[in-house]
Amino acid sequence: MSDATPHPERRFVDRSLVQLTLVRFREFIRQPEAVFWTFVFPILLAVGLGLAFRSRAPDKPRIGVVTTPTTSRIIASLRRDSSMVVEQMDDSAAARALRTAKVTLLVVPEPDGSVRYVYDPVRSESATARLIADRAIQAGAGRTDPVKVTERRVTERGSRYIDFVIPGLLGMNLMGSGIWGIGFAIVDSRGKRLLKRFMATPMSRAEYLMSFLFSRLFFLILEVVALLGFGALAFGVPLRGSLLELGLICLVSALAFGGLGLLIASRAKTVEGVSGLMNFVMLPMWIFSGVFFSSSNFPNAVQPLIKALPLTAVNDALRANMLEGTSISGLSTEMIIISAWLVASFVLALKLFRWR
């Protein structure tokens, strides 16, 4: 009805779809707080969580050696093993150090050449310290190992908390910017009677809605690259799956959340009203969909419901791609759930949408 064919000699930037999309960009970048919440906040969150839950090498056990005539030989043996910290101390200092847990094990060299260990067997680090210290002392005295040992040390990327949380943050961000970015702008325009004003022009309704999708897709690329690039560079979060397929998962997810945003915004007249509605939709997903902790922590009875939430499917698909390298054909359940949300929300949104 109002789909005007563009004037033949019209310049590209004068086309209404281009202009409408430009308006979306301008309104977004001229709102510093929106830029902060979309781009900076997820990265700050990742930094905070990454630092709080970073995996550290276990602390080296501290071992106190009580000063006696034979101390120096024992210390020499212990210092040959770099996996512990050795301190020499006199009797009273040693008793205090053990009591206040400054050392986990006391080694007392006896005048007859034997060695006495003083420790609390209930503390696992003390028991470990005893084994390490004993091994070093026996080796220093000439014991050799009858079995030859070689070892290969592997630290698996992908099993740390930061590896778990980065895909979750990405999913949360796709949801937030899809629902907020589209829903808020539409309701704001409706509340200000701007939507009604546009309806009094020959503007194409399809182009109006498409401008939201185009600008969303553009910002989607920035969001995904910023968060994943940061995760990969700063924390070495793995990207094991196909990047193309990861992009496809993000695209379909962003469209599904955009559709959800459109649906939430389809009738609301005030920004206050739609904010409540958006939080009502998003809050359960923040909790249940495995953003910060695995959704498998919830009881089995509610698992089918949790699995049906769009953010659960998005997070599962992102993690499977990034951490396990699963191909998209192995993610058909998740992709079907996301696509179903996409189609259902768009169909319903366009049916319910109030243009005035």
């Binding site: 789909d3 005007a4 004068d14 209404s16 202009q19 001229r30 009604k196």
Partner: protein
């Protein structure tokens, strides 16, 4: 341009909101090339009538014909040829004046030049200013500019000068007079009788959803004068507003 005698005709227009009958059998004939004023107290049905004519509201009964076309058959064509300023539109505060007009311009097949329209409403100095920084009068002029950028044949103005200072008001008046001088049609609503008297070729007074009097401002004044004896004549025909403008000048005050 289709030059039929009437730019806008409504017959038996009806619209109710729940129990409230907002428009009750309203007949309107706006001639091509005239400036027609719809007057009436708040809640008389002026805005409802104008929004039905603009195609923004569904009517319950009656017919509307604009420029020889109807909303049912020719909505796309009609929107190309109408210019509309709504009473309560808030344009996006984050965009500049030029960006806003470029956006509205992009919707039309044969639009006017953005700079030309900016000059018409005297917003040249504010061309690159954000809408959020404009004064009330400037925002109103921008709203009228948005209505003009599609180069319309029929212009709807719903209380275009409400809340404006006398300078901005007179500037809008001359804009309306220039538009009318090109042979095009204007339908406006207003609460200011001096405005209607100055601008309108004919006016209709609306109350309770239908027209209670219609004619040229002069005719209406004559008919009332016959029924009610006029008050003692004023020493001059000068109004207080003329004094205000004489003292403060016609230059627009853009605070």
């Amino acid at each position: 341009m289709v030059t039929s005698a009437y730019a806008l005709v409504t017959r038996g227009l009806k619209k109710s909101y729940g129990d409230v009958l907002a428009v009750d059998g309203l007949d309107l004939e706006v001639r091509t090339g005239e400036c027609f004023g719809l007057l009436g107290p708040n809640g008389a049905g002026k805005t409802t009538t104008i929004e039905i004519c603009e195609g923004l509201l569904e009517r319950d009964a009656g017919d509307v014909e604009l420029l020889g076309l109807t909303w049912e058959a020719d909505a796309g064509k009609l929107k190309e040829r109408l210019g509309i300023q709504l009473q309560d539109t808030q344009l996006s505060e984050k965009l500049t004046v030029a960006e806003t007009l470029t956006l509205f311009r992009s919707f039309y097949q044969k639009p006017r030049d953005v700079d030309e329209v900016i000059a018409l409403v005297q917003l040249e100095e504010k061309k690159n200013a954000r809408v959020g920084t404009l004064s009330g009068g400037q925002k109103q002029r921008l709203a009228v500019a948005c209505a003009l950028v599609g180069d319309p044949e029929l212009l709807f103005l719903d209380e275009p000068t409400t809340g404006l200072d006398p300078q901005s008001r007179r500037q809008l008046w001359s804009l309306i007079e220039e538009f009318r001088a090109t042979g095009r049609t204007i339908l406006l609503t207003t609460h200011y009788m001096d405005e209607a008297e100055r601008l309108c070729d004919r006016v209709a007074i609306v109350d309770h959803g239908h027209i209670i009097a219609q004619g040229t401002p002069h005719e209406l004044m004559e008919s009332i004068a016959a029924a009610h004896p006029p008050p003692p004549p004023r020493a001059t025909s000068t109004t207080l507003e003329d004094v205000f403008v004489a003292l403060t000048g016609r230059t627009l005050r853009d605070e």
